[in-house]
């Protein structure tokens, strides 16, 4: 079976993003609209291409405003594209009718960052999780309860019956995140978009949740699109990582490559900025100047050049493409090899 899949190139990838763009119009007052003459856009995602292999955990990392969440939402059709195409399991999402897309959601699920906010406060945990079954497996209605109990046990919510009739505010934060995971997995999806799934959890709970996610991935043959701002956490779950800066990919490589041989100057700065839990290894690197620029008017050329320590004059003119510098290691910087 594996050999067949590798033969067909398109089936190797569960998700293909081709030059996707997402521009949000900037809300302006009427006066400004009249006088400015043109509309301004926030370029949340600007020409990103990405292929995600079946069964891998792909991490999208970046600071706030880098467009990582928007890419996630675009790739499962929660947001409409400005340009480009998203192909899931060989199906172009744009070609689907609303109803077909709704049916397809069975195969792509989301784990949200804030479990409290993503659970309906007036629905019991059991029925929250059961909704997915009611929508996508209405024919199995007599088994729904057992299926929910089964998934509850799988995510570590035991005794399942105890949790079935509880409301979200009655359980702890870690348990709520487990419910959210259960809800995402009960429809047996192929792709799970995990939007900072452990960011809200405490350190001591986080490790168990990450472990659970890895376990479930193997058990259900899942593909994760893991969105995070925390590179330290991404390391424990991701196979490959894409680093985003201002709506563009700066670097894509395996986790090991990114952590051990970062090439893009931005990746290097990002990695250096993350504090190390060892007081003997305090950071000595100087941080890049300034903060992330305004995505309405991003700098011309390479978007990182105003803050880049190795910037050359032509960086402000030409936009560097994402090129494969080494096998499987893509970098969008002309001078990456120099440093």
């Amino acid at each position: 079976m594996n050999s067949v899949e590798t033969l067909k190139q398109s089936e190797d990838y569960i998700l293909e993003l081709h030059n996707i763009k997402k521009y949000f119009p900037v809300q302006k007052s009427l006066l400004e609209q009249i006088f400015a003459g043109r509309k301004d856009f926030v370029r949340a995602v600007d020409d990103v291409s990405l292929n995600i292999r079946r069964g891998e955990a792909f991490g999208l990392a970046g600071e706030s405003g880098s467009g990582k969440t928007t890419i996630g939402r675009l790739s499962i059709g929660l947001e409409e594209l400005t340009d480009g195409s998203v192909v899931f399991n060989g199906i172009d999402l744009a070609s689907l009718k609303k109803e077909e897309l709704r049916k397809l959601r069975q195969k792509m699920q989301v784990i949200f960052q804030d479990p409290m906010a993503s659970l309906n406060p007036r629905m019991t945990l059991g029925s929250s999780v059961m909704q997915g079954l009611i929508i996508h497996y209405p024919e199995l209605s007599d088994q729904h309860r057992d299926m929910v109990a089964e998934i509850f046990e799988k995510v570590g919510l035991t005794p399942a019956n105890y949790y079935f009739n509880k409301f979200p505010h009655q359980i702890s934060g870690g348990q709520r995140q487990r419910v959210v995971i259960a809800r995402a997995l009960i429809t047996r999806p192929d792709l799970v978009l995990a939007d900072e799934p452990v960011a809200m959890a405490d350190v001591s709970v986080r490790a168990l949740l990450l472990d659970l996610m890895v376990q479930l991935k193997n058990e259900f043959n899942l593909t994760y699109l893991f969105i995070t701002h925390d590179l330290a956490t991404a390391k424990y779950i991701c196979d490959r990582i894409g680093i985003l800066y201002l709506g563009k990919l700066a670097e894509v490589a395996t986790v090991q490559e990114v952590y051990q041989k970062p090439m893009h100057p931005y990746t290097k700065a990002l990695l250096a900025a993350i504090p190390v839990p060892n007081p003997r290894k305090r950071r000595t690197e100087v941080m890049p100047a300034g903060e992330i620029p305004n995505p309405i008017n991003p700098p011309p050329g390479c978007r990182f050049h105003p803050r880049c320590p190795i910037a050359q004059p032509d960086c402000a003119v030409d936009e560097p493409p994402l090129v494969e510098v080494e096998p499987g290691h893509f970098v969008a910087c002309k001078y990456a090899k120099l440093s």
């Binding site: 499962i76 929660l78 709704r102 049916k103 397809l104 959601r105 069975q106 699920q109 989301v110 949200f112 804030d114 906010a117 993503s118 659970l119 309906n120 406060p121 007036r122 629905m123 909704q131 997915g132 929508i135 996508h136 570590g156 919510l157 035991t158 005794p159 105890y162 409301f167 505010h169 009655q170 959210v180 809800r183 429809t187 168990l208």
Partner: protein, 418 residues
């Protein structure tokens, strides 16, 4: 290590399990501790409402009299005794009871316009019934003689023109001492009750009974108009808030213009067009409260639809109708419940107002508004005409809004731990 850790992890704290075992009633009692004042508010208002609802559903069990019938003297104060009437006769006649002087051949006098006639008629009726039962064959039907005042009557009695004279003690005053030959035989009472807990109105109707029957009208009007506004306003608000766009703009425009109109005046206008009758009143009141639901539900919906759990539901592939019904509506409901209770109270007031203005129900209907309207003419002489129905309006209004306000606290799921 891993197995053990999972076991501990899944273990539910004991105290929580214990709380789960606790029954519903005990949980309610426990709730008293957390909500304190609110809990008692809910309890008191719930008990009050229950009592009011029972009153409204089964008024016949509680009302002592027919609310539309004249059951006593008019304008009797609460608890006041109707004085009986005095039967006077000549000592020489040796009369001991009314029967002796009430046959066809007898003549009995009274003052013109006195309530005594009624009392006499009632007494005769009773006597005749008894006579029929015992088959004595006697018919009690004395001839009545009317006099201008007490003195004339007493003169006639002394002169032997009549066999007896019936007079109230107030009418009699101290005239009796001037007529040594006349003495007091017995008291003649009307068959009607002699005292009423809340008094009687100007038509001699029992106020207590009218209030109890009025509860039914108030509840019917209050609840059904609130339900109608709810059923129309809430879905419109949900749709308008959730989908937005042109429909939302049009609906908002209509509702805002309705809302901007003073409520009572609008209700008067609608009621005037539709005409009297309970159904029309309900409709008129329902219309003026639709915008209240609409606005609140629309606003809440716009907030709730941006919540992450709605987004989560959508990403699960949930149908829009299901999202509206299962995700948005339950989270909008608490604020609507509060409006509903306040609305019922308001509707009762409005209905009272409409009836007060004569735009409501037929005038003989036992209704608080009508009673209030009619009672105002007697405000100085008979305070109880207005006070009692007025208090009922306040009481029902208060208990509905009290329940609503305190429910809001208890219904908030994030506040209620456990």
């Amino acid at each position: 290590m891993n197995k053990q850790s999972e076991k501990i992890d899944s273990a539910v704290p004991e105290w929580q399990l214990e709380l789960d075992k606790v029954g519903f009633v005990r949980k309610l009692l426990l709730a008293r501790k957390w909500y304190k004042g609110d809990w008692w508010f809910v309890l008191v208002s719930a008990v009050l409402l229950l009592a009011i609802i029972i009153l409204g559903v089964f008024p016949q069990w509680f009302a002592p009299y027919d609310p539309k019938a004249e059951v006593g003297p008019s304008l009797l104060a609460p608890g006041e005794e109707t004085s009986g009437f005095l039967l006077l006769a000549n000592i020489d006649d040796h009369v001991e009871t009314l029967q002796e002087i009430a046959t066809k051949t007898n003549k009995i006098g009274y003052i013109m316009g006195s309530q005594a006639t009624q009392a006499l008629r009632d007494s005769l009726e009773i006597m005749n019934e008894e006579a029929e039962k015992e088959e004595t064959g006697i018919t009690y039907q004395p001839r009545g003689y009317r006099y201008e005042d007490v003195q004339q009557g007493l003169d006639a009695l002394q002169a032997g023109e009549i066999d007896g004279f019936i007079v109230s003690s107030e009418e009699l005053g101290d005239h009796l001492q001037d007529y040594p030959g006349i003495y007091f035989v017995e008291e003649v009472r009307s068959s009607k009750a002699s005292s009423f807990i809340l008094g009687t109105n100007q038509l001699g109707q029992d106020i207590l009974s009218r209030i109890i029957w009025g509860t039914r009208i108030a509840l019917i009007v209050g609840l059904s108009s609130a339900c109608i506004s709810f059923v129309i306003g809430v879905p419109l608000g949900l749709i308008s808030g959730f989908f937005g766009g042109k429909l939302d703009r049009i609906l908002t425009l209509i509702m805002d213009s309705l809302y901007a109109f003073p409520g009572l005046i609008l209700a008067i206008a609608i009621a005037a067009v539709l005409g009297a009758g309970i159904g029309n009143i309900i409709l008129a009141i329902a219309v003026i409260y639709i915008p209240t639901y609409f606005r609140v539900v629309r606003g809440q919906t716009m907030t709730v639809k941006n919540e992450l759990y709605v987004e989560a539901a959508r990403s699960l592939g949930t149908k829009t109708s299901t999202i509206l019904w299962k995700y948005v509506f339950p989270n909008v409901l608490p604020s609507v419940v509060i409006i509903f209770s306040v609305n019922v109270a308001d509707a009762i007031l409005t209905e009272a107002g409409l009836s007060f203005l004569g735009l409501g129900l037929p005038p003989d209907t036992p209704d608080w508004g009508i009673d209030l309207a009619r009672g105002q003419d007697y405000l100085r002489s008979a305070w109880w005409l207005i006070t009692c129905p007025g208090m009922m309006v306040s009481l029902v209004t208060l208990s509905f809004s009290m329940l609503g306000e305190s429910l809001s606290e208890i219904l908030n799921p994030r506040l209620s731990e456990l």
